[in-house]
Amino acid sequence: MEKRLLTLNVNGQDYELYINPKTLLVEAIRDHIGLTGTKRGCDTVSCGACTVMINGMAVKSCSVLAMQAEGMEITTVEGLEVNGELAPIQKAFIDNGSYQCGFCAPGMIMSAQALLNENKNPTEWEIKEGIEGNICRCTGYNSIVRAIDGAAKGKYTEAKS
């Protein structure tokens, strides 16, 4: 097995890695780059806790080889805030109590953000579909749907809210 050099662009920053090519993107992000916001909750591409955005699309980073993500823009939950200002979706989650233990939250928020990037005016069903790939054991999802709906309607776009 030959280790490979790889440059990953995560949250706007290039990281140079030297890895075993079987390294999953989630492992590269968590263990090699050290960004632990993205979590893992299963081995069967089921739970969505590892969701990140690749070129703005929500993808489960546990089923992407790190090597495949070279040359693409990867965004993790750490990349949503700007100079300490939370993204509207993050504010929405806080305002609606859309997390409890918080373990699913980073992945859930990335799915939500990807949905909003693509669909400025999602219906309730479209929102539910947008987070269908993310399991939450704590909230029962409805508060998450309310948060995404509120963010879509522009409730959280003001700074310092």
């Binding site: 069967t44 939950v77 939370l86 997390y99 233990c101 993310n134 054991r137 704590c138 029962g140």
Partner: protein
């Protein structure tokens, strides 16, 4: 700088039950929150556990010499590396302390740890498992309680005849006389499935033992104090030499307040190797080897009068305890107790038998035996109402608990809003009008405890404690032992402290999840923290406020009949609120007055003389609208309403979250989370085949809050969140009964079962 605001004379509370944001929000939504899953310590090794493939076997020999030869492997431990302590959480009853975790002599369930290895990478540790040679003598296994109690069944634990692990008996009134009074008697058998906690963060621990002979453990758990005390017991260490850290925990739901393989094996490895060792369970391990909700067989005989007055009930329950006791003894009692809720029975008798089997041990899971109890009770009650041609809501209402009722020998009900719950649900049903032909509504009532009174853990500490310390800038340190596992306890305690002390939630820093700095507390289970830790926090904050106000009174020149108070950071005379000073000004004066020492308030709470179960009970009635495809049996949940009495709500966002979350878990128990075993082997240890409800399946979970006042709770508060897990399965069953007239005895209900029931009904009608 706090601006003076007019205190609304009509608002009882400043902070309670307002839209307070969860105080851990920023950390959790930005990825900053560090869970045990994320912890990395210098020099850390990775541990993996070798598990028994056999449901019942003697361990003859373990040879790990080949594993030790692998580059990168640092060490292997087996039961021989431990003190062999049989531990359990019911410390007061030694015979129920039956689990070594790394067994020395024999294994009792598939997946039980047998050895653990630590290596420089996770991959090497996993590979090393194949190089550990275990010699077993396979024994005959038994998997169902009704088989395990037979005379010829294999003995699972020495000294437990017929494999009966625990028995419980609850009785009041003259039961047979009460049955004689009944004009209608019905008996039914039920089967209640197990359920997996399925916490998003699997079991995780990082243990670090140092040459000072001290142990630091990061652990995903529901009670840092329990972990500390139990680990001290199994390691032969002093509690004070063990530090447990759990600032962020990815869910617990009743499965994480006992020792598990992760914390135990990582600690034993670390003790041997003097290196930190991290063990994270895979999702499959979490399914196979972490204790589950208790499967139960229920026999229920109920006698009522023709007008629907409840006379007598008799229940016999056999629970599948699995290989070890865990929290099963409590579940066995609570299922029998809540099986009577929320009704008055003239005669009631419950006999529960917890039976050892060679399957995954069962333990507490949100609801603690009550979801099973309600599956049986609330359905049978519905069937009785139908048999007698009575209105199911009014029949429930006339028999329900009320404030002041004494459950004979068990509990005094000091607050009870169930009656208004019935009215709310009636309104909701009426508002729905006529339902489409393929939909129906099912109901279920229930009640639940707000923490337990029984000291089975045998702690010498108060059940809950709190310390409030006020800094010179008016910020407040609140130290509690209550564990934040997502239920929002940090926020709830901050809210209570803010209300009691008179400051803003944002001024309070909550310290929890660290036994080095926080007082002992029994932790997050049995829905106890809002009431018990809440009481301790209120007491501590009120003490701090009183100490502060002494300085305000001294300088105020007030007549003795006038009072001062603090609200929203404003110290004022209650009669003349516009006159006063800023909180921080008073704090500085008090600091100087006390020689530079900060004001510290202490609080604590232990229930005394509060009956056999709990100091307080929540109540609710839930209605669930269910759509069923008659040709396929597929269930879709359409709508729901829960009328709910938790006394005085404290944490508004938290309460809604608890209701909706509990509903999703309870619905899963009712129709999705099938957990089948075959010869002791779990057939679906993954998230593809174990069905978890997702956003697309979740219906609206509406709530109608019925406020009552519970004298034992802080500001009248009771639990909210565990009780809400109790009714939904039964409500779904009742919806099926109303639509089709089928009586579902087994949960979770799956499409094939519905179709079979419809077929049987058709065949019976044709005869």
């Amino acid at each position: 700088m706090n601006k003076y605001t007019v205190i609304n004379p009509h608002s009882k509370f400043t902070v309670l039950n307002t839209h307070v944001h969860n105080i851990d929000g920023v950390a959790k939504v930005t990825g900053r929150a560090e869970y045990t899953f994320d912890i990395k310590l210098p020099g850390m090794l990775y541990g993996k556990i070798l598990r028994s493939p056999h449901p019942h076997a003697k361990i003859l020999n373990i040879d790990y010499s080949r594993a030790m030869e692998l580059p990168g492997v640092y060490g292997v431990v087996t039961g021989k590396d431990t003190l062999g302590v049989k531990q359990g959480i019911w410390r007061r009853y030694k015979d129920l302390c039956d689990e070594q975790i790394l067994p020395v002599d024999k294994v009792r369930y598939i997946g039980e740890p047998v050895a653990a290895v630590a290596a420089i990478t996770e991959e090497i540790a996993e590979k090393a498992l194949d190089y550990i040679d275990v010699e077993y003598e396979v024994l005959q296994g038994v998997y169902e309680p009704l088989d395990a109690i037979k005379k010829d069944a294999p003995e699972i634990h020495e000294g437990f005849e017929r494999n009966i692990n625990v028995t419980r008996h609850i009785e009041w009134g003259e039961v047979e006389e009460a049955f004689d009074e009944a004009e209608y008697v019905r008996e039914d058998w039920f089967k209640c499935g197990g359920q997996a906690h399925m916490c998003m963060e699997t079991r995780a621990a990082v243990s670090s033992y140092t040459p000072e002979k001290k142990m630091t453990i990061y652990s995903s758990n529901q009670s840092a104090y329990y972990m500390q005390a139990l680990m001290a017991g199994v390691l032969g260490m002093r509690e004070g030499d063990i530090r447990i850290l759990a600032q962020y925990v990815g869910g617990g739901f009743g499965g994480k307040f006992e020792l598990d393989g992760a914390i135990f094996c990582s600690a034993i490895l670390s003790m041997k190797l003097f290196r930190p060792v991290k063990i994270i369970y895979t999702r499959e391990e979490d399914f196979i080897a972490t204790k589950r909700r208790t499967p139960m067989f229920y026999y229920v005989r109920t006698g009522v009068k023709k007008d629907g007055t409840f006379c007598a009930r008799e229940a016999k329950v056999f629970t599948n305890g699995g290989a070890y006791t865990g929290m099963g003894a409590t579940a066995l009692y609570l299922t029998g107790f809540f099986h009577s809720f929320p009704y008055r029975w003239k005669g009631y008798r419950y006999d529960g038998y917890r039976v050892y089997t060679n399957t995954l041990p069962s333990t507490s899971m949100r609801g603690f035996g009550a979801p099973q109890a309600m599956w049986c009770s609330e359905q049978q009650i519905e069937w009785i109402a139908a048999d007698l041609g009575l209105d199911p809501i009014e029949m429930r209402r006339k028999n329900s608990h009320h404030e002041g009722y004494e459950v004979p020998g068990q509990a005094t009900i000091a607050s009870c809003g169930i009656d208004q719950c019935y009215d709310e649900i009636k309104s909701w049903i009426a508002s729905k009008g006529e339902l489409p032909a393929n939909r129906s509504i099912g109901l279920s009532a229930c009640g639940f405890m707000s923490g337990g009174i029984f000291n089975w853990f045998d702690t010498p500490y108060s059940f809950s404690s709190a310390v409030v310390t006020i800094n010179q800038d008016g910020t407040v340190e609140l130290h509690v032992g209550a564990q934040e596992i997502g239920q929002g306890s940090n926020t709830t305690m901050a809210i209570i402290c803010a209300e009691a002390l008179g400051v803003k939630v944002g001024d309070i820093k909550v310290h929890s999840g660290d036994t080095d700095h926080c007082p002992a507390d029994l932790g997050a289970w049995g829905s106890r923290q809002t009431l018990m830790t809440g009481n301790a926090v209120k007491m501590a904050a009120e003490s701090a406020k009183k100490q502060l106000l002494e300085f305000a009174y001294a300088q105020s020149g007030l007549n003795i009949v006038y009072d001062l108070d603090i609200k929203d950071g404003w110290v004022h005379a209650i009669a003349r609120p516009e006159r006063g000073e800023e909180f921080v000004q008073l704090v500085r004066k008090a600091l100087r007055g006390k020689d530079g020492q900060r004001i510290i308030g202490r609080g604590y709470y232990t229930p005394h003389r509060k009956g056999m179960i709990s100091p307080a009970y929540s109540y609710m009635l839930q209605g669930v609208e269910v759509e069923v495809d008659e040709e396929t049996g597929k269930i879709t949940l359409v709508d729901s309403m829960t009328a709910h009495d938790c006394g005085q709500p404290i944490n508004h966002l938290g309460l809604i979250g608890q209701l909706e979350g509990a509903f999703s878990m309870a619905a899963g128990y009712g129709y999705l989370e099938y957990m089948p075993y075959e010869d002791g082997k779990l057939m679906n240890p993954n998230l593809v085949d174990y069905k978890m409800i997702r956003a697309t399946e979740m219906p609206p979970a509406n709530i109608a809050e019925i406020d009552t006042y519970e004298p034992e709770g802080p500001y009248g508060a009771k639990e909210a969140g565990e009780g809400l897990t109790n009714p939904t399965a039964a409500a779904i069953g009742n919806a099926l009964f109303h639509r089709f007239g089928i009586q579902m005895k087994e949960c979770p209900v799956r499409p094939e079962m519905i179709l079979n029931a419809l077929k049987e009904k058709k065949e019976a009608q044709e005869k």
